[in-house]
Symmetry: C2
Subunit: 115 residues, 2 copies
DNA sequence: TATATATTTGCACCATGGTGCATTTATGCA
DNA sequence: TGCATAAATGCACCATGGTGCAAATATATA
């Protein structure tokens, strides 16, 4: 098990507020699920067609997700194809879980969780 | 590997916007790190003493974290001891990571991550 | 160049929410 | 009961940000 000071550095590294704020907005969470729901990239128009919000708003949400590295964008002619950065996201979540687990004394944790 | 429809249900289950919104606020992220940084519970006053915000604000932030299950509260005399629900949080993060991984075709994912 | 389509950006509106101060509530003790 | 301490709540202020519409930009094609 890592030391407590080490786990705190790890926590600070992976608990990026901007990323969680990006994922914490319902419309953006819906976008993420749409992107995860089908293989391959999707255009802004395709995504907007499946949500009850304006295309321009979808474009802005995708920019937010791109800025925190949750999605990647690639222009293809007139369209821009957005793709979920699945590997990076999974990597972040697992590292954060590991960091938290390093911090929390397992015994107490299990007790608290009531299992 | 789970089917795509299954992974979407799992995603919807674990990608709770309220939880991520709670973690996406810098002051609350700081609270989480303080709670993870030392073993055992902390009182509102102790936590407020380590942050540049008013005690009342800390109290409110802790309520938000409690409402989404990130921390637990236990009154002990005049004090209220807040504790990180570490096990639940780790559980949620790992399940979310698994759901995402089930959705994303691994080959494409690895390519995107540039590894 | 002119036109059409896809996306982004400027703008204004408005809801949400983070903040501090003052007050209230909860608890323990004399 | 009265007083002191810890925490929560009411309130007002203000910054942030989600939203739609219109205009601007990017790209392909005639």
């Amino acid at each position: 098990m890592k030391s407590r000071t080490t786990c705190c550095r790890e926590l600070e590294r992976w608990l990026e507020p901007a990323t969680f704020k990006a994922l914490g907005e319902p419309s953006r969470a819906a976008l993420l699920m749409l992107l995860a729901g089908t293989p391959g990239p999707r255009t802004v128009g395709e995504l907007a067609a499946e949500l009850p919000i304006d295309l321009s708003v979808v474009s802005r949400h995708l920019k937010v997700l791109k800025d925190v590295g949750v999605v990647t964008a690639e222009r293809s002619g007139k369209e821009v194809r957005y793709r979920l950065a699945c590997g990076d996201l999974v990597h972040m979540l697992r590292n954060l879980a590991d960091a938290l687990e390093s911090c929390c004394p397992t015994g107490i944790t299990e007790l608290e969780a009531g299992r």
